[in-house]
Symmetry: C2
Subunit: 196 residues, 2 copies
DNA sequence: GTAGGCTTCCAACAAATGATGGATTCTCGT
DNA sequence: ACGAGAATCCATCATTTGTTGGAAGCCTAC
């Protein structure tokens, strides 16, 4: 039950934002009483924090998995696999992308260190991609390039319902176009960087 | 007064989202009574719609201005100027970026055609950049590439407060890094596209 | 079976919120 | 000066929302 509530909260918070979700909405979605919700997770803010903590954990695991997966290949191969795997996961979990986006923009939601793991992993990706040698001293420009890839993936997955009709393609083709676009645009830039 | 309310609403809605803003918040921000708010703009949803319509209009004008500005130059020059001017404007109006971002992701806020002008202008940019010949038949991949530029600019401006500490630079340097990154990553990709 | 703990529901409350009617003030043309 | 219309404020209402106390149900160890 605790899990079912968390999952429902995850989807609702992603869709409507923190203030856009009421405790009654949540209870109705799960099919339980409001009190049961409070019994398991405490107040609304605590539940939201739990959702974000859970998400943060998943992201960290996924990034570690990718890091292991691409270890040792060429730069182009690393980029291609990373983009493929990350996009697949994000397309399968668009709520994750939406939650991340709103946590980026919103005014100090939850703890200020909720984004720290992201920061660390962006730095790790920069090192893994050969843009920096030491993960404690990643140049701002290298971080910015990794962030551009990351944000683009988040955007296209979180905003699929919005962007899909703009491109005039069907669902499968959209996902293919997004991956190709990320690779097409980003791989040459990074390759150029590593050559310089 | 109508204008002052609209501007306050613009900033508050951008920061806290539609549900995160109360009519009392708005009234207090402007320093007026709640009723005055209703007198000028009707219900909260109407005010939100007005904010979005106003924003849509501004974006359209800005894009037209850029289109005129870069008319006739080389592809690289067009891209560079477009990125410079658009980033300058977005950095000066981060609420605009935040509003756009939330309108992309939110579940059917306001009228469904609120995004149509964006769609048209993305297509226009694609044509202006030489990625398509006819603005009614822009290939999905060309649109996707333009969208990537667009979204990246929106992200870095809307999330400045979040990304700035991640890059460990000051405000001015951040804006410079963002512009450089967008140009560095995107110009080669588009140039490669036009060569193919 | 039954005592005790874990889970769920019912009912309710205080505060916040969207919205409105009517009184009051302000503006300005005559 | 004054009167009409626009603009603003005060007081208030009905709902919604977050949250809680306590009763009822369910499960399990003895």
């Amino acid at each position: 039950m605790k899990g079912r509530i968390l999952e429902a909260a995850r989807h609702l918070f992603a869709e409507y934002g923190f203030s856009g979700v009421t405790t009654r909405m949540l209870a109705r979605e799960v099919g339980i009483d409001i009190s049961t919700l409070y019994y398991h997770w405490g107040e609304k803010q605590d539940l939201y924090d739990a959702v974000m903590a859970d998400l943060s954990c998943e992201i960290r695991a996924k990034l570690r998995e990718i890091e292991r997966m691409v270890h040792g290949g060429s730069l182009a191969h690393r980029l291609e696999v990373a983009i493929d795997v990350m996009c697949d996961w994000l397309f399968a979990h668009p709520e994750a992308a939406k939650l991340m986006l709103s946590s980026y923009m919103g005014k100090s939601r939850s703890a200020p260190d909720a984004h720290v793991p992201i920061k660390e992993h962006i730095a790790n990706i920069a090192v893994a991609m050969g843009l920096a040698l030491d993960r404690t001293r990643v140049p701002a420009r290298a971080n910015a390039r990794v962030l551009t890839v990351w944000n683009s993936a988040i955007n296209f997955t979180a905003g699929e319902d919005f962007f899909l009709p703009m491109l005039g393609v069907d669902r499968d083709e959209y996902r293919s176009v997004v991956k190709d676009t990320l690779k097409f645009i980003l791989i040459p830039a990074f390759a150029q960087s590593s050559a310089a």
